[in-house]
Symmetry: D2
Subunit: 259 residues, 4 copies
């Protein structure tokens, strides 16, 4: 038989000892938040406390967006037929693609392109943004991460940028993203504010994540929301109901504040 | 057309305002950890700070267990054929079932049954455990949540119980779980220590979660680990390799401690 | 390393020779229909020509049922977000469960139970049916495979029974199924005709398939239908549209006949 | 509410009448094979009898390839953890991608490109093949559909071409495919015979299917094979076994012939 031995560099499992990138998992427990552990397993190193809090804020920002996203509808459609929880969650994840949750990666690529243009051609941020955004327009393509059909000022984006400053993470990519927003505002006839995909993309660039990991943050964040919707479907609804995509009403808790 | 209007009680989405169980998501960001937000979306109320930390520890405990679990093997098998990330993650989730990650729910049911027997029949914990465990034995079934093929003293279980005490969450269910462990030790000819599924089950019972949500914690926790393995497959391995389930070697970071 | 060698009895692959249950695949091609090959791979033996035709009719009967089934809605919801074809098909399959397409197995178990009662207690078919159906009623459960919200006389069931007679496959299970239908008609205040799940179940019992394979025939049959709907979504619809579950219109080919 | 009415052109469902592209499903049953119905639902018209037989041969050719393909390994890995059948099949489908079963579409695009070059530039088949194949080589890319790590003369490809002639389907695309094979033989230092993906691609081009449907034929064909392997896993193997990707032995039926 040919040698099929292979190598892995993530987690070492020994009897009574499990280590992620060298850190014992029982030491991580109680010392690291889940968000810090997520950063560790994806990047190989521990985040600073501020970066850990940034990850928390990013994941919280995308934990749910109600019943209308296709990922939620796909998950509850499966649940309505009697699916096990994991089947319904798989359905939900399979409905997170280019047109839903998928703009994070695209926006990261745009931001990195603009940074590259700026550095390679020694241009100002404004000129670099203009050049790359005009390329999109000439190809009749939208700049991913900008514009939302419902939110004209996405509260999640605003807060993500605010926290990026507070946690001292904001840098060149935040400047680029804001410059894009201004340029689109000036040159479009409709408002195209940075949406949550775009804000996540900006922060992920600041944290030096690969664009290919962009959508993964959306998926990781949304799983608990999908779980909640599947449970609601299983407990409040009749099997095999017709699920209308817009005729729903919120009948949950009233507005309240964290004290 | 019949009225297809339906109700949802999780998240209210209005223009420029998104609220989860009544809390504005932009207020949650920066104030709540992801783990606290997970508790909120699943239970409808905010956790105490200590409960939030317990959730963190639970999710960290199960973030990864190396390349050998079937969920990891299923995910990297799909990745090896060129799957998109979401397809590979869906594969991983679909391989989390009764025999892998699925003992949390089963163990929660056992713990709740023992608590019920104890209260209904006014028995001691020891007698209640004996009664329910013997039922399993008479049916030639294993008590879910106990025994591990590799770990004789699972460091994750030990730490979860330690933290449950530290965070003042430990109560009757911890007593029951420990009593089961002692009884199995005394009456089995092989060691059946409480494993991480059993420890998660115990803490989830203390936190008053439904048993049907048990496996969901394992799934939520494991997603980031699956992501890391899929990225490793995509970046370190050749497509369509033969994936040997045991002939792997760890070549990552050496042992280190959190400072 | 422990010996991980395992055995498989389905397909033997040698250089330039592939054999399914002993038959060379290149010999099968051109001699066997796909339906005959499906029977072979699942049962291990070749079907008679008539049984092969019965399989064809069964698979044709369930190839599609328009856009309203949840499996179709789940598949096109994923497609609408930009999913790859295999992801959308996986979504569709994950929405085939107990309450949708899942009655085949349940009905097979009922038919087999009635046959067992009949033989063990030496009862008439009528008395055996009465006994088992009344058990369901006492438990407030519906008999799976009977009743349809749209079709009062399901044309697929009628034709499956007709062909079962024509192909000389009809036997005891067809008698049992028809007796159930009569008994339900007599004792219910609403019509509960045998539906396509029930008719498939009956024929599968006659062909001596395991009940656990029941739903698989529905899944195999429905895949091409799901493919057609995903292609239609990709080519006729805009991404991320709101998919209304009942407000659709058929604008395809007019009624015609096979000549 | 905005109008969400939408159109579909595949299947019309009326009470007691279901029609696929205008043909009543109960008329199709008994008159059409499953393969003919698959052609109808995907193309909108009935195939000739010969084309129907060609579809049968194509689907039979890819019904299974033993336990080693990643789609099979992914499906049985899920099954081994206790997955429901539909979850295991979804896993299998999710492992059919670019590097496994995914060459059909790529090869169809190559064949169509060569045909276009030939017609647009009025070149011979040989010159057209040379031009397009050399483009691939200059980009250091393999021509999809040629070469197999096990089969030097793939019996499935040979038979598909033979039947394409017998059923009078062979035309320009068969010529192109054979010319590619000859050119690769002449100019490569290793044998790159047309594999089953390439042969399917050739026939699908002759039948005027869209390249985007190429992989779908592989998926539709492989489902019954996956079902058989999942059943075998469930019935012959212990849960959570370590699944070795090469250390398996065939212990099924001996060689036999269709009589």
């Amino acid at each position: 038989m040919t040698d099929l031995t292979w190598q892995t560099a993530i987690t070492k499992v020994e009897p009574n000892k499990i280590s992620v990138h060298g850190y014992r998992i029982d030491e991580m427990m109680g010392k690291l938040s889940f968000s810090q552990a997520i950063y560790l397993i994806l990047k190989g190193e521990l985040p600073t406390e501020k970066v850990g809090k940034m990850i928390d804020a990013m994941l919280v920002s995308s934990i749910d967006h109600g019943v209308s996203p296709p990922s939620t509808l796909a998950a509850i459609t499966a649940a309505s037929t009697g699916s096990a929880m994991n089947g319904a969650l798989a359905c939900g994840i399979l409905a997170i693609n280019k047109f839903h949750g998928g703009a994070v990666e695209g926006c990261m690529n745009v931001l990195k392109k603009i940074a590259a243009v700026k550095n390679e051609r020694s241009l100002s941020i404004e000129k670099s943004v203009e050049s790359v955004v005009n390329d999109f327009r000439n190809k009749k393509k939208r700049v991913p991460g900008f514009g939302h059909r419902l939110h004209s000022k996405d509260p999640r984006s605003i807060k993500l940028f605010k926290l990026a400053h507070e946690y001292e993470i904001a840098g060149e990519y935040v400047d680029i993203a804001k410059t894009i927003e201004v340029y689109l505002e000036k040159t479009s006839n409709r408002s195209l504010p940075i949406n949550v995909d775009g804000a996540l993309a900006t922060v992920l660039c600041e944290l030096d994540f690969q664009p290919s990991l962009g959508n993964v943050f959306f998926i990781m964040a949304r799983i608990p929301g999908l779980v909640a919707h599947v449970v609601e479907e299983q407990t409040r609804q009749k099997p095999m109901r017709k699920i209308h995509p817009t005729a729903y009403e919120y009948d949950g808790k009233s507005q309240r504040t964290i004290t």
